[in-house]
């Protein structure tokens, strides 16, 4: 029992928690941007898969790591463009299109993987991002290694939250994005195209989701596996609701969730097989549902979320 408590004060636990949080932070910010503009993006799971592969494959084929991140973002933006084209100007069901994008992006990724590496049984490895210690700060006990001795992509994840928050709340573009999700007619009245804002938001958001996927292959692990996203995308959708569509709160949610995930792995080792390991693996998903129940009552959805908008309509 005491051991279970002591885990919380070890540096390795918090290092793991922040590492687990990083891909979730990217993808949650991506989903948040889409939903703030009024588009639910259920393509997230597939887009993360595509990003994980695109980033890894770029490096495997000889590119450097940052080109890999860029290629992943581009791949994500392309699926975002497809999602946005079908849901924004055409106004098709965001649920159905999102599921379609998830199926398409993941199966296309697996197809290309098999095509590129036909005879491979164990996935080839790349040299992933290495931890970059920030001098001074990284030697603070517990907090230092957790926050200041991570890979550059983790720093980028935290920077993304700051940038997304700044754009959303401090720039005219952010005002337009938020208004597109709340009151699109008002955006149109300003002479700004709702279609343009929403499509741009979905593309940018999808690019972030793909970078979240790429974190897994380029920073956390060093190769691409089938089913490696394993529900992380759906959890990010829950995290957006949990964070009531605010970047800061969503970041907090992602870290809490990741800490719990890192904790259950350690508890599992402590329990010594008395409790079936599946119970521990279920906990993150059950926790997401619980979080949704707790928050849903006072959740204030963007009012125009999932409502297609046509020019000249109110």
């Amino acid at each position: 029992m005491e051991q279970a408590f002591e885990i919380l004060f070890t540096a390795s636990f918090w290092v793991a928690a922040i590492r687990i949080a990083s891909p979730l932070i990217f993808a949650t910010m991506g989903e948040l941007i889409c939903e703030r503009a009024g588009v639910l993006n259920l393509g997230i799971e597939g887009i993360m898969t595509a990003g994980a592969f695109a980033g890894w494959f770029t490096v495997y084929a000889g590119g450097d790591l940052w080109s890999g991140v860029l290629v992943a973002a581009l791949a994500g933006a392309m699926f975002g463009l497809l999602h946005a084209t079908l849901t924004v100007p055409l106004g098709l069901s965001q649920h159905v299109v999102g599921i379609g994008i998830t199926l398409l992006a993941s199966s296309l990724t697996y197809f290309i993987y098999r095509l590129a590496l036909p005879e491979v049984t164990s996935p080839p490895k790349i040299a992933p991002f290495e931890a970059l210690a920030i001098p001074g700060l990284s030697s603070i006990p517990v907090v230092g290694p957790a926050l200041f001795n991570q890979t550059p992509l983790t720093y980028l994840a935290f920077a993304t939250v700051a940038i997304v928050a700044w754009v959303l709340y401090r720039t005219p573009l952010g005002l337009a994005i938020r208004a597109a999700g709340e009151n699109p007619a008002a955006v149109e009245a300003q002479g700004i195209s709702v279609t343009g804002i929403r499509m741009g938001a979905v593309m940018a958001g999808s690019a972030l989701m793909a970078v979240g996927g790429a974190f897994l292959t380029m920073s956390a692990f060093n190769s691409f596996f089938f089913q490696m996203i394993n529900g992380r995308g759906w959890i990010c959708i829950a995290l957006v609701v949990f964070g009531s569509w605010r970047p800061g709160k969503a970041l907090l949610g992602a870290i809490l969730f990741a800490a719990f995930d890192a904790y259950q792995v350690r508890l599992q080792q402590l329990s010594g097989g008395v409790v079936p390991y599946q119970v521990f693996l279920m906990m993150p998903y059950a926790l997401s549902i619980l979080a949704l129940i707790l928050v849903a009552r006072r959740a204030t959805y963007p009012k125009a979320l999932m409502i297609p908008y046509q020019k000249g309509e109110r």
Binding site: L92, S107, A238, A286, I289, L292, K311
Partner: protein, 349 residues
């Protein structure tokens, strides 16, 4: 760009759009086949031959279509009322669990009693599983898309736990699999020595029953009204929440039958690979059928044919069989676009 509603086109034109969607899918996937260094014509020929070219292939397609009919019906029923059930996969597995719990000797009954009891129990379990998200949706406003999706992962882990614990086959040489169901709990084969079983016939009956419910009963009318506009339906005195509950029960029950028929009719026991994603493919099946229960039968056979045919093609032509999943996903997106085009005129200005 604007969308303007069209006046109802003649039936011929309406039927033309699904065909156009399939044609568009073939063109798009041709590019991938070309990328794989094969000829699209020979690949599609091989897929078609692998799906329906021989008696063996055709029976295999119908066998594969059986669970897809059930999950397709489950999705069609739910989506009609705009209840976004993405959890057919979990409901399928729960149906499989109930089948092995009751079917491996717990109930010493003759077939004609045992099979209906198992079917009803499986349906009840699947129905209850979807009732949870439906209650969360109506009572707490929790989006059912995320809850049903997350439940897929929870249920699969739960099944894994059962298969390594209480349901583990003592004779299974350590594999995580259940014991085989007794002979009385097995659906017979339609043709001796072939894999096609009476689950297919039950699936056809289910489609007919669901069609009657959707088109001829008050519940069906209420489901459509709720799906069309929940506020207007509520204003017209339809008890929206109760309709959503009934929809959830029906949808979850139908998806669980897929698990029942796979265990009882085909596999004989429960393993973690009982479904290669039939719950998710059910969404495609339902959308290709434009949510029509009878159309589900046709689209399930079509989708099953693509999977069975692609497997056969992959062995001979060297194109990865994932092309089947790509085709199915592309067909979903082209189909929803085609349905839109059949209802609206696109005006550029």
């Amino acid at each position: 760009m604007r969308l303007e509603p069209k006046s109802a086109p003649p039936l011929g034109v309406t039927l033309l759009f699904p065909v156009a969607a399939i044609a568009a899918t073939l063109v798009i996937t041709s590019l991938l086949v070309l990328a794989a260094g094969a000829s699209p014509f020979s690949v599609f020929y091989l897929v078609a031959r692998g799906a329906a070219g021989t008696q063996f292939a055709a029976l295999e397609t119908l066998t594969r279509a059986t669970p897809l009919i059930f999950t397709g019906l489950a999705v069609a029923v739910a989506f009609r009322a705009k209840l976004w059930n993405i959890g057919a996969e979990a409901q399928l597995y729960i149906g499989g669990v109930v089948t092995v719990v009751l079917g491996t000797g717990a109930l010493p009954l003759p077939s004609f009693l045992l099979i209906p009891i198992i079917m009803l129990a499986a349906m009840a379990a699947g129905a209850l599983l979807l009732l949870g998200p439906a209650v969360l949706k109506t009572r707490f406003g929790v989006d059912e898309v995320v809850t049903t999706l997350l439940l897929n992962f929870i249920v699969l882990l739960f099944v894994s736990m059962l298969l390594e614990g209480p349901l583990k086959d003592p004779m299974g040489l350590g594999w995580p699999q259940s014991s085989r169901v007794v002979a009385e709990a097995q659906l017979p084969r339609i043709i001796q020595g072939k894999r096609l079983h009476y689950g297919f016939v039950i699936a056809l009956c289910a489609a007919a029953i669901v069609w009657v419910i959707m088109k001829k009963t008050v519940l069906g009318y209420e489901m459509r009204a709720v799906g069309h506009n929940a506020q207007a339906a509520s204003f017209a005195g339809i008890p929206v929440n109760r309709v959503l509950m009934k929809t959830a029960l029906l949808s979850g029950g139908l998806a669980a039958l897929a698990g029942f028929s796979e265990v009882s009719g085909l596999k004989g026991n429960l393993t973690l690979d009982l479904s290669p994603g039939y719950g998710y493919s059910g969404i495609v099946v339902a959308m290709l059928a434009m949510l029509n229960p009878l159309g589900v039968v046709a689209s399930a056979i079509f989708v099953a044919g693509i999977f069975v045919g692609a497997d056969a093609m992959s062995r001979t032509a060297g194109v990865p069989s994932y092309i089947a999943d790509v085709m199915v996903a592309t067909a979903l997106l082209t189909m929803v676009t085609a349905i839109l085009m059949s209802r609206f005129k696109v005006r550029w200005k």
